[in-house]
């Protein structure tokens, strides 16, 4: 019944099947929406956060999706500025993934702050010394850039594109897309770096603090590199997941492998500097505060295994897998490396967020633990469901994949 809205020359499932799928996703979305409304009504007292763990799942989720969404700006930079033309096959998907990640993160932030109606204070009363101010500015500005990048794709929808004005508007936006890709890369570099800086400047938190050269430019670029080291491959994983779900070929493997190569190169550079950073932190900075490496960890929940999983299993291993052509060119190995890579960077964000504040610094204080409760999981799930909804609608009605028609003949 909605066939007239499909992109030219592609097949989609029946409307009934699509509606069922949307209802399934909506159930998760509505459950999260209920939690969100409860949070707005009663405050974040309904979450598992407390005075020791002011940051928890939400901030981890935000930082992780912002890193995973980095495929948008980095692929845009490579496609429009460095003119790597092959990336045109996947660029639309990176934009949608980026848009979902950033708009989702902003939605989570409105729940996370205790006074949501004061969210605009970040612009009105900015503290120019705060990394968070920089993050607020850059994330919102970049989200607008992503909207601008997403709009022409929406306007290219078959029926909308028949309207001459919208057709020309979409065309002209495409013509100038290099400009927005440039702005996006500029903004993203700053806020990805500042997200690292947010933790790096915590002078009272030895797990995160880096001094002098190790905060600027070191930590700043560690976060930028880690984001671009996982963002592109995350887009590949999303694409592959969509292919499995729909049973259709969407992007050729050559492009996916190229994205893997890009992410792998960045991840390799990142993990090299991350290891140096960790070594310098453990051997120089920590002793200077009178703390030891062992004091940074506790039991299983905050054990050393987390750090080693992050750096070795989900850092060094996928980096080697992605930069080795023979491994990268094997689809199963590429996706395995991609999954490890994304877990590693998400784990990094978790450790910087939760482990940092879990460590009791007062020698007479004790370790406390944090576990997100249902309200935090439900609202985070709502953002994932929101992503599924946007992606499902985009896939069904928008010409996201330029290769799809040719590959499914």
């Amino acid at each position: 019944m909605d066939r007239a809205l499909f992109p030219d020359g592609v097949e989609r499932c029946s409307f009934g099947k699509f509606a069922l799928w949307m209802v399934f996703i909506l159930a998760f979305f509505l459950f999260g929406l209920y939690a969100m409304l409860l949070i707005f009504a009663k405050g974040i007292v309904v979450t598992g956060l407390d005075n020791y763990f002011g940051f928890g799942l939400w901030i981890t989720f935000d930082l992780a999706v912002i890193a995973l969404g980095a495929g948008a700006f980095f692929t845009g930079l490579l496609k429009y500025i460095l003119k790597i033309d092959q990336l045109k096959n996947i660029i639309n998907l990176t934009v949608i993934v980026g848009f979902i990640c950033y708009s989702g993160a902003m939605l989570v932030l409105t729940m996370d702050i205790g006074q949501p109606i004061r969210a605009w204070f970040g612009y009105w009363h900015p503290n120019v010394h705060s990394m968070l101010t920089e993050v607020i500015f850059c994330i919102t500005c970049y989200c607008l850039v992503l909207v601008i990048e997403f709009v022409p794709l929406v306007l290219e929808q078959k029926q909308l594109n028949k309207i001459p004005f919208l057709h020309h508007l979409a065309h002209n936006m495409h013509v100038n897309m290099a400009l927005f890709a440039g702005i996006g890369a500029f903004l993203s570099t700053f806020h990805q770096g500042s997200l690292g800086g947010m933790y790096g400047v915590l002078i009272g938190r030895p797990y995160a603090l880096r001094e002098g050269f190790f905060i600027w430019p070191w930590t700043f670029f560690l976060f930028v590199l880690s984001a671009v080291g996982c963002g592109p491959i995350f887009t590949v994983l999303v694409c592959t997941f969509m292919e499995k779900l729909t049973g259709r070929k969407l992007v050729d493997f050559k492009t996916k492998a190229l994205m893997g190569k890009i992410a792998g190169t960045m991840l390799t550079v990142y993990i090299f500097f991350k290891i140096l950073d960790t070594w310098a932190w453990a051997n120089n900075y920590l002793p200077s505060t009178g703390m030891t490496f062992d004091q940074m960890f506790y039991g299983i929940i905050y054990g050393k295994w987390l750090m080693f999983t992050e750096i070795i299993l989900c850092g060094v291993v996928p980096a080697i897998m992605l930069i080795t052509p023979s491994i990268r060119n094997n689809p199963t190995m590429l996706y395995t490396a991609g999954i490890l890579d994304c877990i590693g960077i998400s784990l990094n964000r978790y450790l910087f967020t939760v482990q940092t504040i879990a460590i009791p610094l007062l020698p007479f204080d004790s370790w406390h633990t944090y576990a997100p409760n249902w309200a935090e999981w439900a609202t985070s799930g709502m953002i994932v469901a929101y992503g599924f909804l946007v992606m499902s609608l985009s896939y069904r009605y928008l010409p996201v994949f330029p290769q799809e028609r040719g590959m499914n003949r």
Binding site: F53, I113, F121, L132, G204
Partner: protein, 262 residues
């Protein structure tokens, strides 16, 4: 990158707490709650959700009897000279720019992002989880000088700042100098109420104030000095194990702490 230059003040309000005198009675905590209009919680069983601007920690030397000893450590906001919380606030809801060196918290400005809480290693900052509800009749006992705070903002000890304002006003009215208050003219509720006199308060830079000398005593120390946040709250104890528990450096027995702790 910290973007924050430590500011020097002519007057530096500070506290010196004698841990050998503290009995852990909790009167200071109660006085703090009353003075600052902190509403009683309906369910205060989760101690990580309470509002305790001043919190008394229990310390132990972890030895078996008969050598077992305990000490109590009241922990207000340290009003750090180099605060970790101030430069991180995205909306300038906390600042350290008033003569006297008290770290302010501007409740109507705070957006409740809790970045300052993540920054503070002393856990001196508290999030207001629920709207303050005072039991019937208790509203008559509220302090008229201290504003209550809405749900969703961060709050903390401010050395009973309204008392500072009142002390200056009084000095002006009586022909005194509000910028050179005599010792004892300005006293936070906790220091005033302490039954054993464990909490001394005054201008750390004024030789006429008792705390000036107390803070320089050989048994005086500050919490986590190695982090260089320069707290304006000092502790005193003749017991070495208590002094060592003030800083990880001392507690772990690593070199560098001898000068201060042994």
């Amino acid at each position: 990158m910290h973007g924050h230059v430590e500011r020097e003040f002519k007057i530096t309000w500070g506290m010196v707490i004698d841990l050998d005198k503290c009995t852990g009675c909790g009167a200071c905590m109660t006085a703090c709650q009353v003075e600052n209009n902190i509403a009683p919680m309906l369910d205060a069983s989760n101690k990580l959700r309470t509002l305790s601007w001043l919190l008394v920690f229990e310390m132990s030397n972890k030895k078996a009897a008969p050598d077992a000893e305990i000490a109590y450590l009241p922990r207000p906001c340290m009003q750090c000279g180099n605060p970790a919380c101030v430069p991180v606030c995205p909306v300038v809801a906390t600042d350290k720019n008033e003569e006297g060196g008290i770290v302010s918290q501007i409740y109507p400005r705070c957006i409740g992002c809790r970045y300052c809480m993540a920054a503070c290693p002393y856990h001196a900052r508290y999030f207001n989880w629920e709207d303050p509800i005072f039991p019937k009749g208790m509203e008559k006992a509220l302090s008229p000088n201290t504003s209550t705070r809405p749900r969703g903002v961060v709050e903390k000890c401010n050395f009973c700042h309204t008392r500072f304002v009142q002390a200056k006003d009084k000095a002006r009215q009586t022909g005194g100098n509000p910028d050179a208050l005599p010792d004892g003219a300005y006293m936070p509720a906790c220091a005033e109420v302490c039954p054993t006199g464990a909490i001394s308060f005054g201008d750390l830079k004024n030789p006429e104030h008792k705390v000036h000398e107390l803070a320089k005593g050989k048994n005086a120390f500050r919490l986590l000095e190695k982090l260089e946040l320069h707290p304006q709250v000092y502790y005193v104890s003749k017991r070495e194990w208590v002094r060592k528990l003030g800083d990880n450096y001392a507690a772990t027995g690593k070199p560098g702490a001898e000068k201060k702790h042994s």
